[in-house]
């Protein structure tokens, strides 16, 4: 294959493999059993990949992304001299960038873009912004997206509704492993299609035991399997979230309505929160997320599903862009079985309060004292 630029010495880059991969249509090749077996036999792809392995994966022309300038600099090994040179060049570029912003002769659009990028760079922490600053920030982000793609989006900065505390209940007798929730979540939250980012995990447990270590979350067969039951996990939006405590820059916090959010512009990508979370709820963007323009959900929230960038954390936000408008999260809406229940914990007439009062509920890892607002129950 001419477009193969990986340097694997093993047989994972055989032509057959590449032709197979280049099809990039899952449903087609899933039907072909022999090729499935071939894939399964590959040791390096069998498990979740490390970042270093990930970079060395065969690069398919249809999937290959253009290397950005930042990637180019960051990925290059260099000595001190060239580092100084690069930094000097960066300084010059920065000056040039400032010059473009101030230069009356440059095209108006370029000047505006430079100005916006300049403002973006010096943006403060969303949590301490005034309402006016929040308004300016989201309109700047909307304008930047329009200048970059020509598409208009709506980013909201809606605050919490007073007297509302969100809670979630999951009926483990009802879940049948259809994974409609995962698909709904990915479409709603503009998650990276290329790395298969997903916030929700559905674990297939054998009946009679509940051992997450032995419950596969990578099943793909007709569901529900006989003798199995299904449990979904995602961000539990703890009342005392350990992920918030460990953040060194306070880029993540719990909102008044109980939703744990991330300021993607303030996050430095240290992944402490990912390590601190007992529920495997946090996700890291190892690359710039790729979402085809026609699949982008244009109804966005600053703390929710707006497009992320490389090197920041993201997580389930109970679909903050929907729930603060009174709608249900996408997973609740997508679930055909009614296993997912969402509502206001402070409203005694809400469904979630009825479940808590009338069902035998439990939470995962309750002994850690994180007070997750995500309960499980059975019929």
């Amino acid at each position: 294959m001419s477009n193969c630029n990986c340097n694997h010495s093993d047989n994972s880059c055989k032509n057959g493999m590449h032709e197979l991969l280049a099809e990039n249509v899952l449903s087609d090749w899933l039907k072909r059993d022999d090729e499935m077996n071939y894939l399964r036999a590959m040791p390096s792809l069998d498990s979740v990949l490390m970042w270093s392995e990930y970079n060395n994966q065969p690069n398919i022309s249809s999937l290959a992304k253009k290397e950005t300038a930042a990637d180019h600099i960051m990925n290059k090994g260099m000595d001190r001299r060239s580092a100084v040179q690069t930094m000097a060049a960066g300084l010059m570029a920065g000056l040039g960038f400032l010059q473009t912003a101030c230069n009356p002769l440059a095209p108006a659009e370029d000047r505006e873009k430079s100005q916006l990028e300049w403002d973006d760079y010096f943006q403060g922490n969303f949590r301490v912004m005034t309402d006016k600053e929040k308004e300016e920030t989201v309109s700047r982000l909307e304008r930047m997206y329009e200048l970059n793609t020509g598409q208009r989006i709506n980013i909201s900065a809606t605050g919490p509704i007073p007297g509302v505390l969100y809670g979630y209940a999951f009926n483990i007798s009802k879940c049948r492993g259809y994974l409609e929730c995962i698909r709904g979540c990915i479409n709603e939250n503009n998650q990276d299609r290329e790395t298969g980012m997903q916030y929700i995990t559905i674990h297939e447990h054998k009946k009679g035991q509940m051992n997450f270590g032995e419950a596969p979350d990578n099943f793909y067969h007709e569901v529900p399997q006989d003798g199995h039951f299904y449990i979904g996990t995602q961000c539990m939006h703890c009342e005392s979230p350990p992920c918030v405590d460990v953040c060194p820059v306070q880029a993540t916090w719990k909102e008044q309505d109980g939703i744990v959010v991330v300021d993607y512009n303030w996050c430095i990508g240290c992944r402490y929160c990912e390590a601190a979370c007992p529920y495997d709820a946090r996700r890291f963007n190892w690359q710039d997320p790729v979402v085809p323009e026609n699949e982008v959900n244009h109804n966005q929230h600053y703390l929710g599903n707006r497009l992320r960038k490389k090197g920041v954390m993201e997580k389930c936000t109970f679909c903050i862009q929907r729930t603060r408008d009174g709608k249900n999260p996408a997973c609740v809406e997508a679930c055909p079985t009614g296993a997912r229940i969402f509502g206001n914990l402070l409203d005694p007439n809400s469904e979630i309060r009825w479940v808590l009062a009338n069902k035998k509920v439990f939470r995962l890892k309750e002994d850690l004292g994180t007070e997750p607002k995500f309960w499980y129950f059975m019929d």
Binding site: V48, Y178, E239, T323, I341, L346, E351
Partner: protein, 232 residues
């Protein structure tokens, strides 16, 4: 030194370079232990006194949400005719079904009693040919357990009371009382629209085909994460 006890303390004390060695005595250790234990209890008791309630207890004692909190929200169910289910503790709504049924009213075709409409030609049934009743064993259930033979525009309970098609849940609850309780409360069924009031629920028959209520197996909506990574 290790085996010294009570009476030897005095004689040991005379030449002892450490005058507070008496702390080794059994009685003193006992007293100190007790002081530590009691003060420990006191400290723990004071610190946990303010917040010994569980999260659920706190919720139940919290200030209930004011209805005004929801007033700025746009309605999430807009369009269909809503019918209140109000003879329950927490009233809610269902969506009118008769307007959505394609061949309603049934009397358009069923203008004479069922016994007169049996097909006599070789082609068999002219309508409802896809219906197979797989709900309960034959001796327990047949068509007229739910359908009103005299007036096919309505349904009937076991005792013969007429029930509107919009209120078909009344029929289901005759046997499935546990599911009905859960549906009323919010632990069973599928909600229409958002989480905020008013609460609108789907009818039983919108998810469960009353003639074949069991759900079939199917393939998941999408492969899992690991499968996707394999493609790369």
């Amino acid at each position: 030194m290790g085996e010294t006890h009570g009476s030897e303390i005095g004689s040991r004390g005379r030449n002892n370079p450490y005058p507070y060695d008496c702390i080794n005595s059994f009685v003193m250790r006992l007293i100190i232990k007790h002081i530590l234990l009691i003060s420990g209890f006191l400290i723990m008791g004071c610190s946990s006194h303010g917040d010994s309630r569980s999260f659920l207890e706190k919720l139940e004692e919290s200030e209930p949400t004011n209805a005004a909190a929801y007033q700025n929200l746009q309605p999430t169910v807009d369009g269909p005719i809503l019918i209140p289910v109000d003879r329950v503790a927490n009233p809610f709504f269902i969506i009118a079904r008769t307007g959505q049924m394609t061949k309603f009213p049934c009397a358009n075709c069923h203008d004479k009693p069922l016994s007169h409409m049996k097909s006599t030609d070789s082609l068999g049934r002219k309508a409802h040919w896809e219906l197979h009743l797989q709900h309960a064993p034959e001796p327990i259930m047949n068509c007229v357990v739910c359908h009103n033979e005299g007036d096919l525009n309505t349904l009937r309970t076991i005792t013969g009371t007429k029930i509107d098609f919009d209120e078909s849940y009344q029929l289901c609850q005759q046997c499935h009382s546990r599911q009905y309780t859960d549906w009323q409360g919010g632990a069973h069924g599928k909600r229409v629209g958002g989480w905020a009031p008013p609460r609108v629920m789907k009818l039983c028959v919108e998810c469960h085909n009353p003639h074949q209520p069991r759900w079939d197996k199917r393939w998941p909506a999408q492969p899992s994460l690991t499968m996707k990574r394999l493609i790369k």
